[in-house]
Subunit: 349 residues, 2 copies
């Protein structure tokens, strides 16, 4: 006897890599980055509504596999993400990810999606959100050090959200920089390749460090950072991995996502335990001051936090309704009589 | 320009509910239960090879959503599982699940599968594995108290692995019992419905309690348990939820999966912190004694552990190669140049 069609509750909408790319094209990447920045900011403003479970990491010689769950009491979300710096040498992604949303009331999943692209978008959106509150007013120039898989997303978020017009690129591998230059050729931005990190930061109001490899641990030294700059450090994101010289942190005011996690994973792991930081949500919520004056150096010590993924997942779910850019996965066994799981199997013969 | 086909590494084999049901029919459910029992036992014998991260639970008023990860250093696995006792009243499953395997060396997922059916199978297999070492020799009769979604799987595992021939059913809801009777009508077993738990346990060498609702907290009282019996308690599996009267535990020798987890979630949460238990893997590995004599009461205080899911996932992955019972999910963004994630998106327009 053929199996009966599963009930609608058995289906979980799945967004493939192909459909995610189409969704970004459909919405427009700059619109999507801007809307996602707003979505993350909305969730950061209701920070205390979230169950902030620490991420669960499984470390190995070659990398780490992490599960990042959170919940706002109505919706539960988590991301599976790996970090394997050596992967690039084998033609693989350093970071791949997928994510899920579920209904807290029933525990049933309601969305599963690729999240490698979505993580690049949400990381860029989180950077732009921080810069919107911490960078000098009307910034024109971004220095981007590290021109890997995240580079163009970071650039376009700073354009879409802050109106940046000029970009100065540097990477220890010139091929990474030329790849980024080429990909941004139709972006309407003035983009140039620089021969050193020192050259790249000249005249920039925002400096973003975005490198993956553990072995280049001091991307920025103290003398490279002038007064009034905003630094967005997104590459130092696990224990033993940092990008900035500690002296920079002594001159900067540092903002973080979730202090207990950043103390372990962020740039501040090189500082004393009482090194002062401000959680970014407090700035967004008016509880703490962001940029104070035009000579202040601000640092967003970004490691990536589950709430950002949650916001991105909910954003994608909301956009899916109209586009049909998903498949229904028959992932949840849902017999007519919930106690008759075995009968459902028997009748599927 | 149409998108290029993703590389093979971008594809993750996905086993739907329908394909899982076909896989069970293809292998034969009793063969599958027996082979899965052996697979779990093989993994329990190499217990110290596993990274035994505690499960990560997100509790709400109506239930819990859990992530259960583990790794043996070569393969990583996790299960997403919810537990919502009220779901049954709304026509939903109390427990739904899906699972994933990934390659530790790269972090790339290699299998994603429905796991509601697979959890029922692995839970039954784990029960049979424990009973194989703890129950009296050549048991003929199983008493099964609680005849919900797990019932038939438990029965068939005890038949396949231990050769049980007679089954005595009881549930506070007679409809659950008649559902189970009907589903087992072609099983070759002598199955009867009993009017009480007390009646069900008469003459049974193995008593399995398998109830879901938090409000019926004492399924077995002390006077119902005779000498020489093996008890398999699988329904008490979260804080505040137990099935056995504490006096039974005072007479029994208790075996557990992973002591730190069972102290919080199992029957032994009602006992003092120094109540003695034996981790089951030590019995399988010859480090501790299982059943000692024919009058001993043995108790497997089962709460479900990530290693059991890992074994089940690896078993399914091995069986998939020949059957083709999976779909390839385009879940991992895998551009030709791993640093050119953005270029992959651009070219997909």
């Amino acid at each position: 006897m053929p199996a009966l069609a599963p009930s609608p509750k058995a289906y979980v909408p799945f967004v493939s890599v192909e459909n995610m790319m189409q969704l970004i094209h459909r919405i427009g990447i700059e619109t999507m980055l801007l809307e996602m920045t707003d979505a993350i900011e909305d969730d950061f403003r209701r920070w205390n509504a979230f169950d902030k479970t620490p991420r669960v990491a499984s470390h190995s010689t070659d990398g780490v596999i992490e599960l990042m769950p959170t919940s706002d009491g109505a919706t539960y979300g988590f991301k599976y993400v790996n970090g394997h710096p050596k992967n690039t040498r084998d033609g693989l992604q350093t970071v791949t990810a997928f994510g899920l949303l579920a209904d807290v009331a029933t525990g049933y999943p309601v969305l599963i999606t690729e999240m490698t692209l979505l993580t690049a978008l949400r990381t860029a959106a989180a950077s732009a959100m921080a810069a919107r509150h911490l960078a000098p007013k009307n910034p024109s120039t971004l220095a981007l050090i590290g021109n890997g898989a995240q580079a163009e997303f970071q650039v376009l978020a700073m354009k879409a959200v802050l109106g940046v017009t000029h970009v100065r690129l540097f990477d220890i591998d010139p091929l990474a920089t030329s790849k980024t230059l080429k990909n941004l050729s139709d972006s309407g931005l003035h983009v140039i390749a620089c021969s050193s990190a020192q050259s790249a930061v000249e005249g920039a109001q925002i400096i973003t460090t975005c490198t993956a490899d553990k072995q280049y641990a001091t991307i920025l030294t103290d003398n490279m950072v002038g007064a009034g700059v905003h630094i967005n450090a997104i590459g130092g994101d696990c224990p033993g991995k940092t990008e900035l010289h500690g002296d920079i942190l002594l001159r900067a005011d540092t903002f973080v996502e979730f202090e207990p996690q950043t103390r372990i994973e962020g740039e501040i792991q090189q500082m004393a335990a009482d090194y002062p930081v401000t959680e970014l949500w407090r700035v967004l919520d008016g509880k703490a001051q962001g940029r104070r004056d035009e000579r202040q150096i601000t640092l967003f010590d970004s490691v990536g936090f589950a709430v950002e993924d949650f916001s991105a997942l909910r954003y994608v779910r909301a956009k899916l309704q109209d586009t049909g850019l998903f498949h229904n996965l028959d992932m949840i066994a849902d017999p007519d009589d919930p106690r008759d799981l075995f009968g459902m199997y028997l009748r599927a013969k």
